[in-house]
């Protein structure tokens, strides 16, 4: 139905602060693009520029091939789900959903048909006569979704829509949003600071930092090949272990495989570690091997996380199931050669 193309988009606020410093993203039709990053990275500003709620200082934003820089939010044919839902408190759920259609002069019976069918999809039928304050957080979230869907817009915009829900509901709604987006086939842009949400929802994942795109691509590609130390430490929970290298050497390593010449940081994910309690056990060829002391154990159930101190810094190691290891234990940690990541002194992957 629609593509979204951002070309070198910038946002400079009147005070001179540059919130977005030249971002180019091409979102294909029907894709769900997730913008993820820490607070203040410019992801919300970018979304608001696509919505037309913020002016674009430089660059261009095109929806469905048409540049919309000079068009207000009213004419862009987009729908947005806000973090606080922004439901109209003085209107019933029905009127909240019908508002956008009424403003566009849709015939009355058409409005009724669309509101009711959308309410059916979202299981909101029994709530249509209620006011927002009489709804639970999850129900409000659904109404906000319904208000967006009922208009049948070209693009959906989501501004951290799940951050006000409790963890269980969040997981549920995540699946629902994904299914809904797929079945409706509407191009969507989704902003979140939750990397788990980003990983599970995205067709296209864009990791942002300080007003710039750090990396974009398929979520698992980013996970497997983070382009920088920032991405490595932002995507994945717990984040990737990063240890400094000194001129290709690593003091804490008992054995260290061949290191690219310009690497300054060594990284490996907690789940790519293996622990051999009996020292001198199986050491795979070319694997990293280092010694670490356990400082804390976090049993989560299906797995346990060991928080360890190695010579080069702190690391987290994931072991399956429960573990007998305790704080104070010394253990060797292995990571296979193909699971190691190297980053240069500028933080970029080498």
């Amino acid at each position: 139905m629609a593509t979204v193309d951002l070309k070198d988009v910038r946002k400079v606020y009147p005070g001179g602060v540059e919130a977005v410093k030249g971002v180019s993203i091409a979102i294909p039709d029907k894709a769900l693009c997730v913008l993820v990053g820490p607070s203040g990275c410019g992801k919300s500003t970018l979304l608001r520029m696509i919505a037309g709620l913020e002016t674009i200082s430089a660059g261009s934003c095109a929806i469905d091939g048409k540049v919309v820089n000079a068009i207000g939010p009213t004419e862009r044919d987009i729908a947005m789900v806000f973090q606080n839902y922004a439901l109209y408190p003085h209107m019933k759920v029905y009127d909240n959903m019908a508002y956008g259609l009424r403003n566009r002069g849709t015939p009355k019976d058409e409005i009724d048909r669309r509101v009711r069918s959308t309410a059916k999809t979202l299981e909101l039928e029994h709530l249509l006569e209620r006011r927002p304050r009489e709804l639970s957080g999850g129900q409000r979230q659904r109404v906000a979704m319904g208000r967006a869907i009922v208009r049948n817009p070209k693009v959906f915009l989501f501004d951290e829509p799940l951050s006000n829900l409790d963890a269980k509901l969040r997981g549920q709604m995540r699946v629902e949003i994904k299914n809904l987006q797929r079945s409706l086939g509407v191009t969507s842009v989704y902003v979140t600071h939750d990397q788990l949400e980003a990983m599970t929802l995205a067709d296209v994942l864009v990791v942002m930092n300080a007003g710039l795109v750090e990396q974009s691509g398929a979520p698992l590609d980013i996970y497997e090949k983070p382009a920088s130390t920032f991405v490595a430490s932002f995507i994945g929970a717990p984040p990737m272990n990063l240890l400094p290298l000194r001129s290709g050497q690593f003091e804490g390593a008992v054995t260290l495989p061949a290191v690219p010449g310009n690497a300054a940081t060594l990284g490996f994910r907690p789940e790519d570690c293996e622990v051999r309690v009996e020292a001198g056990g199986i050491a795979a060829d070319g694997a990293l091997r280092l010694l670490a002391r356990v400082e804390g154990v976090e049993p989560v159930g299906a797995e346990s996380f060991l928080y360890c101190q190695a010579a080069g810094g702190r690391i987290v190691v994931r072991v399956p199931g429960r573990t007998e290891l305790q704080a104070g234990d010394q253990l060797p940690v292995f990571a296979r050669r193909e699971k190691l990541h190297f980053f240069g002194s500028d933080g970029k992957r080498v």
Binding site: T74, A86, Y88, P89, H90, N103, R131, R151
Partner: protein, 294 residues
């Protein structure tokens, strides 16, 4: 529900309430009962004796065409003052909300008129629109309007309404600005995305959400127009010309303190009190329920 506070001491709660009760008794119930008592007395012309006449004063007042005229004047004056003061204040507040630069200065300037005493506000308008020396009256005449509030009752009414509303606009402005700021910005943005133009957004989102503020101001402005405009009317028209701007409160003063018909005046006060109680009760009972939501 907050838990109820229980005082172990039986006398302490009464002691704590005593100052408030004493003030209410001395400054409200006592004068009110005095008014009620006096409204049933009739004095002889020299003020030497008085006679208890039950409701004769009320019968006299309510059948007096001058009193009915005063009721009419009060209704016109109050409705016009509240309407003008509130709509102009709302317009200014909406405009002030859009001001980006020196917003603070603009708001401060808007609040100044509230600090002007009613009588002085009245004098100000009187001088500006005085048919012989007023600068703005000159302007009106230049526009071809035969401006003479000293003889023309409707023009006198326009003048007092203008003066009374002008003074109240600042107060209303403050509350409307606060009310506008309390509306979440995302609601306006959601409405914009929902395809509502600026005008439509105001009437379908902003105005309904301002309803609690508007209701509060409606009560305050009605009470203001009824009771607190004596100074302005006294300074600008003195109730005239004829009795064209003689409101109920002004007539109470005129009959009681100028003409010294104390019984009639007291009866009018009692009626006024009943009107205010009824007005407030109606407003709180029926209007408030519709305008408050979570």
């Amino acid at each position: 529900m907050s838990p109820r506070v229980v005082f172990p001491n039986k006398i302490l709660p009464y002691l704590l309430l005593a100052p408030q009760l004493a003030i209410t008794l001395v400054f409200f119930y006592w004068p009110a009962s005095q008014a009620l008592y006096q409204s049933m007395l009739r004095e002889d012309p020299f003020g030497l004796s008085s006679k208890f006449v039950w409701f004769a004063n009320f019968r006299k007042v309510l059948s007096d065409p001058n009193y009915l005229n005063s009721v009419h004047v009060t209704i016109v004056f109050s409705v016009a003052t509240a309407a003008v003061a509130m709509s102009v204040a709302l317009l200014l507040a909406v405009m002030a909300d859009k001001v980006v630069r020196s917003r603070g200065l603009y708001r401060t300037l808007m609040i100044w008129p509230y600090a002007v005493a009613p009588a002085i506000a009245g004098m100000l308008w009187l001088f500006l629109f005085n048919p012989s020396i007023g600068s703005l009256a000159y302007g009106l005449r230049w526009l071809g309007i035969s401006w003479d509030p000293l003889l023309n009752g409707s023009q006198a009414m326009v003048l007092v309404v203008a003066a009374a509303s002008w003074k109240q606009i600042s107060y209303n402005f403050l509350f409307f600005v606060a009310g506008l700021q309390a509306i979440p910005k995302t609601l306006i943005e959601a409405a914009a995305i929902d395809g509502a133009g600026e005008h439509k957004r105001f009437w379908t989102i902003v105005f309904p959400l301002l309803a609690p503020t508007t209701f509060f101001l409606l009560v305050v402005n009605t009470v203001y127009a009824f009771f607190d405009t004596f100074g302005i009317i006294h300074a600008v028209t003195g109730g005239g010309p004829g009795k064209a701007t003689e409101t109920l409160v002004y007539k109470v003063y005129n009959d009681g303190f100028v003409n010294l018909i104390l019984g009639d005046s007291a009866a009018q006060s009692v009626i006024l009190m009943a009107i205010v109680i009824a007005l407030t009760a109606i407003q709180f009972r029926y209007v408030e329920r519709k305008v408050h939501y979570g």
